[in-house]
Amino acid sequence: MIRFDRVSKRYEPGIDALSDLSFDVAEREMVVVSGHSGAGKSTLLKLIAAVEKSTGGAVLVGGQNVSGLARSALPYLRRRIGMVFQDQKLLFDRNVFENVMLPLSIAGFPVRDAAQRVRAALDKVGLATREKALPVMLSGGEQQRLAIARAVVNRPSLLLADEPTAHLDSETAADVARIFHEFHHVGVTVLIATYADDLFPGARRLQLSHGKLLP
């Protein structure tokens, strides 16, 4: 599903976020990328969705080298990937339903089926009763679950999450982690960058330190 082949990412001037990184993630696998703050976890996820481009090596997603993709091809890559961002990136002028609807509108999903999909996604994360609420009215845990619902509404085969349990109390964090486990169980490839890797027992670990993979 994902292959990193001697990937490096350098931010000018001369800061190596990742260097000479090689690993594979198989289909339906759940992988936790852990490491200290600044170890390069976020960068790694951004390279997969081509939000950033590697400065060396190849990042293959589904056999496609995403660092070489033309700008016009990026949208179609990203529609296949569900992303939960570190800062969530919710739209605060749209309600819960509309936030989750956005990826489907973007993909040109038929309207009637789309509403059903949105409700199914909200139901899965336990927000079925909050669809008219604005994001500001939600608690931290609810906002995180909303971000997850938006990431999975397209039913992507690959789910990326950047620190999805940060700033959550332990009970809420466990709740969010459980949702990721559920998606993993139904066959989604899940890649989670987190420093709380104990929340994801059974997942394969990739330990990053200063942009390098620890054995």
């Binding site: 949208p75 890559l77 990203r78 990826p103 973007i106 040109g108 038929p110 938006r150």
Partner: protein
Amino acid sequence: MKTWLVQHREAALLALRRLAAAPVNSLLSLLAIGIALALPAGGQMLLANAVHLAGTISAVPQISIFMAANAERRATTEIESRLNKYGGVKQVQFMARDETLARMKTNPGLRDVIEALPGNPFPDAFVVTATDERPEAMEKLAAEFRQWPLVEHVQLDSAWVRRLDALLKLGRTAVLLLGALLGAGLIAISFNIIRMQVLTHRAEIEVSQLLGATDAFIQRPFLYYGVLLGLGGGVVAWLLVGAAALWLRAPLSELVQLYDLTVVLQSLDPRDSALLLGFAAGLGWLGAMISLRQHLR
């Protein structure tokens, strides 16, 4: 195809919602565009009326020949036969002084004046049209007639037609120039408003890109916004010109009555109205397009 339509409808609705979300801002923008467009549109309205007026007045250039008041009937007849035989003369219309007097007396304003005069103040006259209507040829013909005996005055009325023609041409150029200038102004206004819109919706644009939106998807609501701005401004301009036409109608018809003309000032005709709205929408779109090229990358 259906998806495409749905996406366009959604983008248009989103643009409408954004316009409605800041009503005061939107109204002021529409007013600015409307006033800018009202200038060339108003010019076109006046021009179209002037062209219509010019069309109602005979455009065939004529030469009027007035005999001396003391010319006898015989002299006049001789001139008439000379005119009829003269090469280059197409048609001769004789206007006897008695008939002219009778005709003028039917005008109630003039009758009192004429009756106060001792005799018939009108001379015998001919109205001549030429085979060659070019101004130079007409001028030559008139000069020839001036040499003839007992011809008191020869008047070439093609001069004012030429003046009117030149004036209308100038008016057309002025309207075009004004249109081009203020059209460029509209593009600038649209450019700036869309720039502000892009800044306002930065977060939404970024999230949409991350969720796999194409550039076309992201640009669409902004382009509709530009089109709606232009179109709305065009409607404002159309209303302004219409109101001006109504308001000017009475005073203008009073004015031209003094020149024995009747004019009912008309607002923009359907063709000009459609052109105005079409151009306004198109320029709004163009401004938005240029702005997006600059600010969306």
